[in-house]
Symmetry: C2
Subunit: 297 residues, 2 copies
DNA sequence: CCTGTCGGTAAGAAACCCTGATCGATTCAT
DNA sequence: ATGAATCGATCAGGGTTTCTTACCGACAGG
């Protein structure tokens, strides 16, 4: 029912009008004159009405004059779309939705995102933060394309690229009896008031696991946790990156027996592919946080 | 530089998404499945980025999801244009600019335009009126597509289709000495106070030409002319159609010696072709005002 | 394990679009 | 006038695009 208008013949019509003839148009279109003639005639009989007068010169019919601005409009919209998609593909435009665990979001991302938007000034980034499970769920559900987190359980539908290892240590106030140590073994912590937090599960399955059953509190909120530590109510364990260095009275002492680490990495969907902007972000993150390592599956 | 997006592959993408698969889409597009697959792949490599995930099912990539509404938008605009142009061609939409001499405009056009818009309810008409020279100039200059007028001088660049002959007669007040006659010869008018008007040139070149030199007035405005006639100041000659029948005191007496007629017809540009709407009007006018005559060159 | 459905691939056929040569008409200069 | 130049139209042909037919491998459900 509806005739399919192809873009190119419409361009020919515009060219004929503003070049003032079929020959001149053909020249500027890098086509031969018959190509232009035939394309126009094809278009005319598809519309069922001539666009140019038959006699001699290239003059628009009234119908042609009616069509002209509309052709121009459709071509403009086509070109706008084409340009826009190309910009997306070439990472000169676009948007990345991502998520990270709080320690990464607050300690690594500010610098990283600053560098990123310096490298890709046209791209936009949205960052959410939440615990590892939250990040995993956002990535798995497609609500964000990338997550930076530690991986608890294996998931075939998600792809995890390790970026860095983050050692767990003990955090206490500077006047605590352990505060002067360079390193600790788990036995030294026995009998201490241990405050559990969201990262304490890292100790599960290690020699230090017995400590967890002794812990009196379980505080997931970081502000509350630091408040309790500063108040000298107890001690806790945290990965190095999660240790809030802005509190002068808190000390971080590495745990060496057992050595416990979390592995931070980039999480993405295993089946869904990435938008061009997210591809740029993925490569940028890997390059930034894993210096001297090539990307690989 | 810019890739040319053809409309059809975009349609394929939409169909794949809302049919939920390549096979189903191919069915509803009346194509085979490989045709759809290949068209999509062609589009993908033209964009430089896949639209659908590779593995198994037909799932959009994030880039594909980004493209989808934009494809839909471009297709919508294409179809809107296509539909609109088709409506123009099929005379289901459009606009006719035309002009007519005052007698035609006031006596024939109201009825004719009423019938026309009843026949073509979607079309719109603009009508200007003015003397024959004015009408001719509008048509020649392309400001209107059609004129209904009498033709003074031949003009190769204009096409004139005769519609009706309009006999000239004498107009006088009902108490005038000639008012009772059924017909008149020019000699009977000698010695009368003759008022010239815009149509008096019709008498030039006829036996009645001597009357013109006797005329005391030359009044082009119709209101003024009728006022003078009603006041009994003189008589005039007018074509039948230009005789203002709404004035009860005025009489029209046919001039039979010589028989003078003007030929009213449809005027259009000889080189410029007509818009579809104007074509409809042209045919309608010819059919309405020249009953029982087929259209000719 | 077989079977139906999915999408991808290969080869040939049809349609499409372009080129090169040529034509008739018009215009312009001689 | 008449010949040259330029205009757009036309036609045969070949190269590309885009379809169809036939077949493949992957996967899911009975």
């Amino acid at each position: 029912m509806l005739p399919e208008l192809k873009i190119q013949p419409l361009r020919y019509v515009l060219a004929i009008v503003d070049a003032g003839g079929f020959h001149a148009a053909a020249r500027q279109l890098h086509r031969t004159q018959p190509a232009v003639s035939m394309a126009v005639r094809e278009l005319e009989q598809r519309l069922g009405e001539p666009l140019f007068e038959k006699g001699g010169k290239a003059t628009l019919t009234p119908f042609g004059a009616y069509c002209l601005p509309r052709f121009r409009e459709l071509i403009t919209q086509h070109d706008r779309l084409s340009r826009e998609l190309l910009a997306q593909v070439h990472q000169q435009a676009g948007h990345v939705d991502m998520a990270a665990v709080p320690s990464v979001a607050s300690r690594l991302m500010p610098r990283l995102l600053g560098d990123f938007i310096h490298r890709y000034p046209e791209l936009r980034v949205s960052l959410q933060d939440g615990n590892a499970e939250f990040v995993r769920r956002l990535v798995a559900g497609g609500e964000v394309e990338l997550g930076i987190t530690s991986l608890w359980q294996q998931d075939d539908s998600l792809a995890f690229t390790p970026l860095m290892r983050d050692a767990v240590g003990v955090v206490c106030r500077d006047d605590h009896s352990l505060a002067g140590r360079d390193s600790l073994s788990w036995e030294a912590l026995q009998g201490q008031v241990l405050i559990r937090n969201g990262t304490s599960r890292l100790l599960e399955g290690t020699d230090a696991e017995p400590l967890l059953v002794e812990s009196a509190f379980d505080i997931s909120n970081m502000i509350s946790l630091t408040a309790m530590l500063v108040a000298g109510i107890g001690i806790t364990t945290l990965p190095r990156l999660a240790f809030p260095e802005e509190y002068e009275r808190l000390r971080f002492i590495p745990l060496v027996d057992p050595q416990v680490e979390r592995e931070l990495g980039l999480l993405r969907s295993g089946q869904r592919s990435l938008s061009p902007a997210a591809q740029a972000m993925e490569a940028f993150v890997i390059e930034s946080l894993r210096p001297g390592a090539a990307a690989g599956p």
